[in-house]
């Protein structure tokens, strides 16, 4: 019951109802799910949407270039998932000057930079990655004895998302666990497998792994399996991709923090619809996240890509108007 809101033109004459979305690299299932969320919502709601993505997760200027390219066209609303806090600010200032709606999803735009550039961000949708890392940290704390050794495997060294997730994890475990090592596995399953194998070899007492995304988590699971330690080492990752959920169900991955990229994408488009209809948007929308363990895995898979737990969508009311 959310169709049509956008077509009958609010007072804003400059705006068209067309939506442009610029997200991170599509070489990762997380952002593919996000794209699906955007596209499918747009289709059911009859919104014209264009999705562009960076070449890869490190392509900060490429993403900015793409946004700049789109900014010159007649889109009324921009949904952006910036690779870093600032990389899209330049390009967005152009959008903001033209008085178009900016919806920030997933990774937040740096508040200071936004202020400097006079950006007005209609709404921010997402869980910050630190919180997701924190959930994983809490889970690991429950699973292993205090003082156990844990290892962290992040994405490309210096990557912002990876940094936030890892920082959240570290903050949550605090000094209760012994973080023996922090490695970078470039977001890749194969690299994570090699790295985890080495870490297990060097640290036979390692009790848990945290990976900054599911792909690397699955690589670690494989390493644990190869070492014959399945069940003895807790592996948690972040994302909630389908194959990760399946691995959780099958007893491989201990848990994944599902961020529901599909829902984030969906909310992004819906926020644009609300804005186009002249509705009011909350400054921040908490998109659902959930820790998926073996117990919830079946439900999560069944509901995929939607959130499995009931979720209060704050935009539904506005859209229903």
């Amino acid at each position: 019951g959310c169709a049509g809101g956008s077509s009958d033109g609010s007072g804003d004459s400059a705006s068209s109802s067309k939506v442009a979305a610029v997200i991170k690299g599509l070489d990762n299932p997380f952002f593919q799910a996000m794209e699906s969320g955007i596209n499918e919502t747009a289709e059911t709601d009859g919104v014209d949407v264009t999705v562009q993505a960076a070449a890869d997760i490190g392509d900060t200027t490429g993403q900015a270039d793409k946004l700049t390219t789109l900014a010159g066209q007649d889109f009324g609303c921009f949904v952006v998932n910036p690779i870093s806090g600032t990389n899209l600010v330049q390009a967005l200032s152009q959008v903001a000057t033209a008085g178009k709606t900016i919806v920030n999803i997933d990774s937040p735009i740096d508040a200071d930079a936004a202020k400097t550039a006079n950006l007005e961000i209609a709404t921010y949708i997402g869980t910050d990655n630190e919180a997701a890392g924190g959930k994983a940290g809490d889970f690991v704390l429950e699973q292993v004895e205090a003082g156990s050794e844990v290892a962290i495997i992040g994405g490309i060294a210096g990557d912002v998302t990876s940094g936030a997730r890892v920082d959240g994890f570290k903050a949550a475990v605090g000094s209760d666990l012994d973080i023996i090592q922090e490695s970078a596995a470039d977001w890749k399953r194969e690299v994570a497998l090699t790295t985890a194998t080495d870490i297990i070899a060097a640290n036979p007492n390692v009790k848990a792994f945290f990976a900054a995304n599911d792909d690397m988590g699955l690589g670690i699971v494989k390493a644990v399996e190869n070492a014959g330690l399945t069940g003895q080492i807790t592996v948690v990752s972040v994302d909630g991709n389908q194959d990760a959920l399946e691995s959780v169900e099958a007893g491989g991955l201990s848990a994944t923090v599902a961020q529901y990229p599909f829902a984030i994408g969906q909310l992004g488009v819906q926020a644009c619809e609300v804005a186009a209809a002249g509705g009011t948007l909350p400054a921040e929308i908490e998109s659902p996240t959930a820790l998926v363990t073996e117990a919830e895995a079946a439900d999560a898979i069944a509901a995929f890509p939607q959130p499995f737990a009931p979720f209060e969508n704050p935009l539904e009311d506005e859209l229903a108007k």
């Binding site: 070449a55 900060t60 200027t61 390219t69 990389n87 330049q90 210096g158």
Partner: protein, 326 residues
């Protein structure tokens, strides 16, 4: 010596014209590719040739243009600089650190360029003095520069809020943004150095035949040192534009820039074996690659098809160079 047939001028003319045509297409693969792209995209997308989009494209191209020019100097000597984008990253971090520690814009910019040239110096020493293969030396410094950037920045992006940078990235003269104007000035300077000074001639000589150049009293060591320093210095300048563009100095490597800088040079008709200098070619090559991504984005081509499209264009443009004269 040319034993052209003076007797049959008309037939000769025809042949010459034909030859001209074929080699004309080949020598100008990059500009021709660019023109074709512009035509195709402007038919397919009404936005492509709007002033706003052209301006956006030129600004987006500036970093790659500058890197391609640096790379062109190195490639002319028969070398290659794989560390160019890591050097840029290192320069950017240098800028970020200096700026956030209170150094003003100009001092920070100087530090960025000096930091970048430090990597260039290592490259030069390894390759010119150490006689290490260019490929492996710069592959090593690629890693070294990346590592250093991560270490000094502690792996975190450094936000930079500088009015000068803002001016640099958003100011413009007509449709020409300051970044592309800077790139154009560098291109003109590079052309001048390459084709009108002794230094440029010596760069070409070393690339063409090092033994002969040395026998004629040219110091290949100095020339090689110089080109790696030039390449690094230009990477430092590009770092300023990079920081200005993304509003922060980030320690992530931009592999894309590395491959594209080389592709731009080669598309511009410079042979990787060295000895043949070109500046305009690489600049147009960089514009071509930028226009390609821009157009594909405008057309809403899916991210999955973009690498394919880029690959096909690169291959087609390269096929054209087949007919280049030796």
């Amino acid at each position: 010596m040319t034993t052209t047939e003076q007797a049959r001028p008309s037939r000769l003319k025809a042949i010459t014209a034909e030859t001209k045509q074929l080699s004309f297409w080949a020598e100008n693969a990059a500009p021709i590719g660019l023109v074709v792209l512009v035509i195709v995209f402007s038919i397919l997308s009404p936005t492509f040739l709007t002033l706003g989009n052209i301006k956006a494209m030129l600004v987006a191209a500036a970093i790659l243009v500058i890197l391609a020019i640096g790379q062109a100097f190195v490639i002319t000597t028969g070398g290659i600089d794989l560390s160019i984008s890591a050097t840029m990253t290192f320069g950017a971090i240098g800028f970020g650190l200096a700026f956030s520690n209170g150094a003003g814009f100009w001092l920070s910019a100087l530090i960025a360029i000096v930091a970048a040239m430090l990597i260039g110096l290592i490259n030069g020493l390894l390759i010119a003095k150490g006689k290490v293969t260019d490929f492996i030396a710069t592959l090593g410094t690629l890693s070294v520069a990346t590592g250093l950037a991560l270490i000094v920045s502690n792996g975190k992006p450094i936000s930079v809020n500088s009015p000068e940078l803002l001016t640099l990235t958003s100011g413009s003269l007509g449709i020409f943004g300051y970044p592309i104007i800077l790139a154009a000035i560098i291109a003109v300077g590079a052309w001048f150095f390459m084709f009108r000074t002794r230094f440029g001639l010596h760069v070409q000589a070393v690339g063409g035949n090092e033994e002969s150049a040395v026998a004629n009293g040219i110091s290949a060591t100095k020339i090689r040192m110089a080109v790696y320093l030039i390449s690094a210095a230009l990477a430092g300048v590009a770092a300023l534009l990079l920081v200005a563009r993304v509003g922060a100095a980030e320690p992530a490597i931009n592999t894309q820039y590395l491959l594209n800088s080389i592709a731009a040079v080669v598309l511009g008709g410079v042979s990787l074996t060295g000895g043949k200098a070109k500046i305009v070619g690489p600049v147009i090559g960089a514009l071509l690659l930028t226009a390609l991504t821009n157009g594909l984005t405008l057309l809403g081509v899916s991210q999955f098809y973009q690498p394919l499209a880029v690959g096909l264009v690169v291959v087609l443009a390269a096929l054209l160079t087949r007919f280049q004269k030796k």
